[in-house]
């Protein structure tokens, strides 16, 4: 069980600030959604938390330990990342890509054991990618690749999972399958889950807590119904009259297009 924490993090590419004084926490067993417009800094938060980018100032803690004090290998046993549309070598099969998730658990000279192979097989069954195992990665669709990457992070056996747009290329059936899987894992294994989610409706339905990022700082944070509000949507996305309430569970849903009618009525 691990807790991830960012304290007053500022981070920028070549003096162009991306994150501006970001302070956030994610606790074990909690599924946290990062929402916000394109370029608001969601992916950068994930990169900073997995130490592939260094903050210019501020600190990041893994269970209270400063992130730079943890070795790369130990970090990869604690935090797994599902990147968004990454570069994958076309000469490897989906199975081999999934198996690479075992890397942090293997010594330099060690090869994958039978148990590692079985873990990869199980993960592929869980994510519905078993039939893709033998296929080369460049033969797969965007959605299939995303599911393969989810399998890879399962095989990594980490205590926290960071996901960057995990469902961006999935059809709605697969979206529900993958998010249900992550949500269940989060609860069963008390994983810490932080997901950048583009789709506000999915964020509202699946996340215990959402953090709304706007221009590199935290605009609002809390339960979905407290963050996904008319006023926040207007301030951050510039959209009007789009927040409704789900008829079954009372969570917010965002529907676009209605404002045109409303504006027409007002006239």
């Amino acid at each position: 069980m691990i807790e991830l924490e960012m304290r007053h993090v500022n981070l920028g590419y070549n003096h162009h600030p991306v994150l501006n004084d970001v302070t956030l926490k994610a606790a074990p067993g909690e599924m946290v959604g990062l929402i916000g417009p394109n370029g608001s800094g969601k992916s950068t938060i994930i990169k900073a938390l997995s130490r592939v980018m260094q903050p210019n100032s501020g600190q990041i803690f893994i269970n209270g330990r400063e992130i730079n004090q943890v070795t790369r290998r130990d970090l990869a046993r604690l935090i797994g990342v599902v990147p968004q549309m990454p570069l994958l070598p076309s000469t490897f099969t989906a199975f081999e890509i999934v198996l690479m998730g075992r890397n942090p658990h293997l010594g330099l000279l060690q090869s994958e054991s039978r148990r590692d192979l079985e873990m990869a097989r199980d993960a592929m069954e869980k994510t519905g990618t078993a039939s893709l195992a033998n296929r080369y990665i460049n033969e797969l669709s965007g959605g299939e690749i995303q599911s393969v990457l989810i399998a890879r992070v399962l095989v990594q056996e980490t205590e926290a999972i960071l996901l960057d747009e995990p469902t961006a290329n999935l059809d709605i059936g697969r979206q529900v399958e993958i998010l249900d899987l992550i949500k269940n894992l989060c609860a069963e294994k008390t994983l810490t889950v932080l997901a950048a989610v583009h789709d506000l409706n999915l964020a509202a339905q699946y996340c215990d807590r959402v953090i709304l990022i706007h221009q590199g700082h935290i605009h609002a944070e809390g339960r979905p119904q407290d963050v996904i509000t008319e006023i926040n949507m207007r301030q951050v996305y510039g959209t009007e009259n789009c927040v409704y309430t789900h008829p079954e569970n009372g969570l917010p849903i965002v529907l676009l297009g209605a404002h045109r009618n409303k504006t027409a009525e007002n006239k």
Partner: protein, 358 residues
């Protein structure tokens, strides 16, 4: 259930991939021994293959064969032909594994051992060696190979320092810096050649590459560098697989990318520098052999690296055999043969396999 079935077969084939790797290793090792025997028995004085084989086997520990051959035969086999064959094998193996490593590190199919300045650095060093009016020898290196070796290392270190930004080493910058520095050094070499007078022939001969001056002393000098570099690279084979993902993913999977990039780069460069120092910059082997191995046995570096070593050695021994026997007593420059033999075969492989090779 159907998907379950395919997974099971995949696991089996994956494991049997390991087995076929061992079979291929043994097969290629046997082929290497045959190539060595073949190349040692052929030459201006023909010696029957069986005699050559027995002369060689007699030298192995614990094996004694009562000599039925003349002393001169043993000298030709062991002191004249064998060192040349072994050096050719070593250089071929070195260039092949260095090429595979650079291609893997740079995730670029066009990378070869000379991409980041080794070849032009060595050429400039060797050219200076021809032109300097002294003849030193340090650590077993004569002046020309010594300067070639130093030139190769200095050029690569310069490229490395130029490309390094802060704590990271962006691969694209490294390649571009390598190309630019190679162009600069190459033009200096061209200028020196034009103004080198009667030494021009020697320089050009060196630049085209040749094994004609190979003796045991040379084998002993380059062997430690090549062997050490190869062992380091093969140890990191699985990490090199993970590094085929982009650098961010490799880091997120626990690989300290910058550290291993530096180690692998250093090892591959040392191997290449040692390989070219005595025999010149032989082209083509470092780029084609790894691709051929990839086409036949796949892209897993745990297979690719050791099989590239064996295939590179066999290829170079056979091409050197062709170079010295086809137009005997005239020797054909080895670079000409590597391209003539290698290119059509490689193109054949490329056409046969339709799937992506890199």
């Amino acid at each position: 259930m159907a998907s379950n079935q395919t997974m099971k077969t995949k696991t089996v084939t994956f494991l049997s991939g390991k087995r076929s790797r061992i079979v291929s290793l043994l097969g290629l090792s046997a082929a290497l021994i045959v190539a060595i025997a073949l190349a040692t028995s052929a030459g201006s004085v023909p010696i029957p293959l069986s005699t050559t084989f027995q002369v060689l086997v007699d030298k192995l520990p614990y094996i004694d064969i009562t000599p039925f051959w003349e002393d001169s035969t043993a000298i030709i086999v062991l002191d004249i032909r064998l060192p040349r064959v072994i050096l050719a094998g070593l250089v071929g193996a070195a260039l092949a594994i260095a090429g595979a490593t650079y291609q893997g590190l740079f995730r670029n199919p066009l990378a070869d051992p000379y991409l980041i300045g080794v070849s032009q650095g060595a050429s400039l060093g060797a050219t200076l060696g021809f032109l300097l009016p002294v003849s030193w020898s340090i650590a077993g290196f004569g002046l020309i190979p010594l300067l070639a070796f130093i030139g190769a290392l200095l050029a690569t270190i310069t490229v490395y320092l130029l490309a390094r930004t802060g704590k990271t080493l962006p691969v694209t910058t490294l390649i571009l810096a390598g190309v630019a520095l190679s162009a600069l050094l190459g033009s200096i070499v061209s200028y020196l050649i034009i103004s080198s007078g009667d030494k021009m022939h020697g320089i050009i001969f060196w630049l085209m590459g040749s094994f004609s001056l190979s003796e045991w002393a040379e084998v002993k000098v380059v062997l430690p560098y090549i062997a050490a570099g190869m062992i380091i690279i093969i140890l990191f084979a699985r990490l090199l697989n993970v590094m085929q993902l982009d650098e961010e993913q490799a880091q997120q999977l626990g690989v300290s990318v910058e550290r291993y990039k530096l180690i692998l780069l250093a090892a591959a460069t040392l191997i290449t520098a040692a390989a070219v120092s005595f025999v010149g910059t032989i082209g083509f082997v470092g780029i084609i052999i790894p691709h051929a191995v990839r086409l036949v046995w796949g892209a897993d570096h745990r297979t690719l690296l050791p099989l590239s070593v064996l295939t590179g050695a066999i290829f170079m021994i056979l091409t050197d055999l062709a170079a010295r026997t086809l137009l005997a007593p005239t020797e054909i420059p080895i670079g000409v043969i590597t391209a003539i033999c290698g290119a059509p075969f490689f193109l054949y492989l490329l056409r046969r396999r339709k799937k992506a090779i890199f």
